[in-house]
C-alpha cells in the first residue's frame, strides 16, 4: 500500500521530497501538491484498484490518502473528503485500512484521520512552528531539523510489551495518532478526539445461541466481501481456526485464493492442519521454509521496514510469507488475525485465572497481571536495566496507565469484555495489525484483515461473554459458526497459538549475530542493559522456575530487534 506525508506551516517542497523518498517500497509513483502554508505528498503503486492515485485537489481542499476503505471505493480520498467535510456524523461507519490527511487550503485547517483498528499509522511532530506528519517514522527522521533523540520512557514500555504502545514513540517529540482518532490542526492549535470507540452493548436478543451464531456468520462473510477486489488474493494460513474461517468465507465469496503457510521444519506445530484445510477448501498451498539462516538473512530489511521496534519473533516469518506471495504474483493478502481478540481466544484464559486467585499474597491489580502476561522484562528491570536506564525511564505507573482505560473501565460490566477491550486496543491495534501490514507491504502487498471489521467487532461486544469463552472452550460462537464448514478437529481442537522456534534460532544459527549485536562491547556502547544478564540469557539461562524454553528466545529476540532498530533509526536516522 501507499504512504503519505505533509506539513502545515513553513515547510518546503524539498522536505516533502525527502519524506516521500524515505519509503521507496511503498509505491512506484509519487505526487506532491502545495500552497502557501501547506504541502502534501504521497507514494503509491500505479494502476492498483480502489486506491487514490496522487493528491486529490478539489474546491479548496487537498487530500492525501494511504490505503483502502471497507467497503472499497474507487477513490478513497474522494470518499474521505466528502465524509469529513459533511458535518452530520461523518465517520459513524468509516472502516478500512487507511491514514489520510485533508487540508482545507483557504483557512489552513488540517485533519488527520487513521483507520479504526490501526492497520495504517500516522505520526506527527511540531518543529519550529510547523506541523509535519507522515505514515512512517522514518519519513519524519528524513527531516534534518528533527533530532533523533531517544525517548527512554517509550523504550521502557517496549521492554514490557515487546512493542511501543500509546501515543509516544521512541523518538522524542514525535507523537502517533491513535487508531480510530482524528486530529485537527489550525492556527497552531491541535485537537485530537476519537471517532470510534468499542464499548459493551449486550443485546438480549443475542442470548439465543442460534441467533448469535447466525449474526457472527453473516457479519464475517460481509467483512470479507467488503475487502475483496478483483484478481486473485493470498491467504496466510496457519492451520488454526481463524485463518481457516477466512479461507472458507473467501471461497464462499467466489474469490480465487492461493494459501501460504510457514514451514518451520521439524518444529512446525500445525503443518498437518494447514494442509488439511487447504485440501478441504480446494486451495493451492505454498509452503514457505523458515529457519534461523533465512531469518538472519532477512533481518535488516525487516527491521527497517517495520519502522518501529517490534519484539515478537513472528515478524520476520511474516516478512518471508509476504515475499513468497509477491513472488507468486499476488497483490493482496488476507489473514485471520483478530479472532482471539474478538471472540475470546486462549490468551484470555490466564487473566481469568489471575482474577480468581488475585490478591492472595500481595495487592496485585489486573493491570499488573496483564503486564506480566507479555513475558518480557516486566519485573526483571533490576536485572536488565543499567542505572542510567533506570533513572531515565520516569516515574512508576506509566505502563499501568496505558491499561487502566480498558481493564478498569467501569462501564464494561463483564470481566472478559474488559480483557478483550484491552487486547483489541493494545495488542491488536498497536502491535498485531501495524506489524503485519508493514511486513506485507515490505513486498508491496495490500493486507486485508477482515476479522478486525468495525461492524463485526461492535457486534462481538453485544454477545453474551459465555458464547465467547464457554467453559474452557475459546471462541465458542465462531466455532459454532464454522462447525459445518470445516473439518471437526480444525474447529474444536484446543489452540495454543503459533509457535515460532525462536530459541533454536537465536542460540543456534543466529548465535554469531547475537554475539555481535548483544555482545558486551555493543551493550557497553549503548549503555542501557546490564551485560552480564544478557550474556546469561545468551548462554541459555533464564529464570530458574521458567518452564518454557521459548521464553529465552523471546527475550533475546526483543533485545536484538531493539538494538537493530536503534542502529537503523537513531544511529543512522532511518537511512539504510
Amino acid at each position: 500500500m501507499s504512504g503519505i506525508a505533509g506539513y502545515i506551516g513553513r515547510g518546503s517542497a524539498d522536505e516533502l521530497e525527502r519524506m516521500i523518498a524515505a519509503i521507496p517500497y511503498r509505491g512506484d509513483t509519487s505526487d506532491q501538491a502545495s500552497g502557501p502554508g501547506w504541502g502534501l505528498a504521497c507514494r503509491f503503486w500505479h494502476g492498483r484498484a480502489n486506491k487514490t492515485m496522487g493528491i486529490l485537489q478539489d474546491a479548496g481542499v487537498a487530500v492525501a490518502c494511504a490505503g483502502t476503505l471497507a467497503p472499497q471505493t474507487a477513490n478513497p480520498a474522494w470518499t474521505l473528503k466528502q465524509r469529513l467535510l459533511d458535518a452530520s456524523d461523518p465517520l459513524a461507519d468509516l472502516d478500512g485500512a487507511f491514514g489520510a490527511a485533508v487540508v482545507q487550503t483557504d483557512g489552513l485547517r488540517l485533519t488527520l484521520v487513521r483507520d479504526p483498528f490501526g492497520v495504517r499509522s500516522l505520526y506527527y511532530v511540531e518543529l519550529g512552528g510547523t506541523l509535519y506528519f507522515a505514515t512512517e517514522l522514518k519519513q519524519l527522521l528524513a527531516l534534518p531539523q528533527l533530532s533523533a533523540e531517544l525517548d527512554l520512557a517509550a523504550i521502557h514500555k517496549y521492554l514490557t510489551f515487546s512493542f511501543v504502545p500509546g501515543e509516544a514513540v521512541p523518538i522524542r517529540g514525535v507523537r502517533r495518532l491513535l487508531p480510530g482518532h482524528r486530529l485537527e490542526y489550525s492556527a497552531g492549535r491541535l485537537e485530537i478526539r476519537p471517532y470510534f470507540q468499542l464499548s459493551e452493548r449486550l443485546d438480549p436478543e443475542l442470548e439465543d445461541l442460534g441467533a448469535a451464531t447466525l449474526m457472527v456468520s453473516r457479519l464475517a462473510k460481509q467483512a470479507v466481501q467488503k475487502r475483496l477486489g478483483d484478481g486473485p488474493v493470498g491467504l496466510f494460513l496457519s492451520g488454526g481456526l481463524d485463518s481457516a474461517a477466512v479461507g472458507t468465507w473467501l471461497k464462499q465469496a467466489g474469490a480465487e485464493v492461493h494459501a501460504f503457510s510457514l514451514d518451520f521444519g521439524a518444529k512446525s506445530v500445525e503443518r498437518e492442519q494447514a494442509e488439511q484445510v487447504a485440501k478441504h477448501l480446494g486451495i493451492p498451498l505454498t509452503w514457505v521454509p523458515v529457519d534461523g539462516t533465512t531469518v538472519n538473512a532477512a533481518l535488516e530489511d525487516a527491521v527497517w521496514k517495520l519502522d518501529l521496534p517490534f519484539g515478537d519473533p513472528v515478524t520476520v516469518p511474516q516478512y518471508l510469507l509476504g515475499a513468497a506471495a509477491r513472488k507468486a504474483g499476488i497483490n493482496a493478502v488476507f489473514n485471520g488475525e483478530g479472532g482471539d481478540q474478538l471472540f475470546g481466544g486462549w490468551t484470555s484464559k490466564p487473566m481469568v485465572a489471575a482474577a480468581v486467585y488475585g490478591g492472595m499474597f500481595e495487592d496485585e491489580s489486573p493491570e499488573e497481571q496483564y503486564l506480566r502476561a507479555w513475558h518480557r522484562f516486566y519485573g526483571h528491570e533490576e536485572k536488565l536495566y543499567t542505572t542510567f536506564l533506570r533513572d531515565a525511564v520516569g516515574g512508576p505507573g506509566q505502563r499501568r496507565a496505558l491499561l487502566a482505560p480498558y481493564l478498569g473501565d467501569d462501564r464494561t460490566t463483564q470481566f472478559l469484555n474488559r480483557v478483550r477491550l484491552t487486547d483489541i486496543s493494545l495488542k491488536g491495534s498497536q502491535n498485531i495489525l501495524p506489524r503485519a501490514e508493514r511486513m506485507s507491504n515490505a513486498h508491496g502487498l495490500d493486507l486485508r484483515v477482515p476479522l478486525f471489521d468495525r461492524e463485526l467487532a461492535e457486534a462481538s461486544f453485544a454477545l453474551p461473554t459465555g458464547f465467547k469463552l464457554h467453559g474452557a472452550c475459546e471462541k465458542y460462537v465462531l466455532k459454532r459458526a464454522m462447525q459445518w464448514a470445516l473439518p471437526e478437529d480444525i474447529v474444536w481442537r484446543r489452540k495454543f497459538g503459533m509457535s515460532v522456534p525462536v530459541t533454536d534460532w537465536v542460540l543456534g544459527p543466529m548465535a554469531d549475530r547475537l554475539s555481535e549485536v548483544l555482545g558486551e562491547p555493543s551493550l557497553q556502547r549503548r549503555g542501557l542493559f546490564v551485560p552480564s544478564y544478557v550474556t546469561s540469557l545468551r548462554a541459555g539461562v533464564d529464570h530458574p522456575a521458567e518452564t518454557r524454553k521459548r521464553r529465552i528466545g523471546e527475550k533475546l529476540w526483543t533485545l536484538l530487534m531493539l538494538e537493530l532498530w536503534l542502529r537503523a533509526f537513531v544511529d543512522r536516522r532511518g537511512q539504510r
Partner: protein, 354 residues
Amino acid sequence: MKCIYCQNDSKYSDRIGGKCPGCGKAFAFEPKNQDPLTDAAFKAAIDRVSSNEQVKWGVEHLRYEVWRLLSAKARKTRRAGWMVVGAGALLLTCAVTPLFVFAIIGGIAILVGILVISLSRRPSLEQSEFDRLYDRYTAAHGVPKTAIVRRPRQGPEPTRIAPDLLEYSFDRAVICDRARTVDLLVANQFHFENNCAILGAEGYPKHAFEIVRSMLKKNPKLEVFVLHDATVEGCALAKRLSTDPKWFGGQNLRIVDVGLRPAHAKFYPGMEVPADPAPQGVPEGGTHPEMAWLRKNKLELAVVRPDQIVKRLYRAMTNLPEPADGDNGGVSGSDVWIYGGDYGTSDGGADSFG
C-alpha cells in the same frame, strides 16, 4: 564469621554485642554460643531454596534446605572422623613392632575418631528448632522477600469476583493435599502461566474454593493433576478424587498423580520422618511394599526445592500422552495415572524430583 551485609570477616572478640565491627549490623547466630550455623550459612540456604531470590518458597521448604545444609556439614565431620580412625588403625598396625608409643597414639586416635563419628550422626532438624532459628534470623534481618506470606484475608471477596467469571473454566486443575503447596504454586504464578486451577483437597483457598470447583465442572475435557506428600492419605488422594462426586466422581477424566511416593525416598536420604497415625477409612493408594513403607514413614513434598516442583508438574502436563482410542471410553468414572517422569542425579534434594 562473615557479615551478610558487608562481608567483613570478624573474630568473636570483635563482635561486641553480637554486632558486625564493619557495618554495625546485628548477627542472628553465634556459633561460639552453640548455634548450629552462621548467618551466612542460613542466607546461603535461603539463596538456594529461592534460586537466588527468583522463586517464591514456603518456610517448610527452607526447613529442608537448612536440614540439608546441616547434613552436609555433618557428612564432612564424619569423613574427618573416619580418616582419624584410619590413621589410628595404621599406627596400631605399626605397633606390632616394639614401638609401644605408636600403639598408645593409635588407640587414642581410634577413640577420638569414633567419638567424632558418633557425635556427628546424620542430624535431623526438628520443626521447633527450625522455627527458633527462623525467628531469630527474621528478627535480625527481616522476612526474606521471596518467602510466601499469606495475607490476613486472601483474595477478593466471593461477591466481588466478576459474575461472568463463573461461566468460564480452566484447562487443567492441580489438587494438592496441603494448602501450602497451593500457596507455592499460586505465588509462583503457576495458575497464570498454565491456565490452571489450583486447590487444596481440604478446601483451600477458602475465598475461591467452591467457585473454582464449580468452574471445573464446566470443562468436560479437564486434565487433573495431583500433588502430595508420600503419606497414606497423599498416595490415596488421586483415587479419592476420582470417585468422590463432589470432585470428579462420575466424570470421564484422566487424573494424573504427580506426587511423592515411597520410591522417591531414595533421592532424599534420611529425610523421611515417622508416619502420623493414618485416619480411619483411608483407602490404600499404593502397592503392598509402598503401603508397608507408608505405614512407618512419610516424605513431605517440601523436601523438593520449589523450582523443581514447578518444573516436574509442568513436564507432567506437557508430556502427557493423548489418551488412546478406547481409553476410558464408555466407562463411567475418572481414571488415575501415576506419573513416572524421569529422575536425574541427586545432590540431596535439588534435581532429583523428575
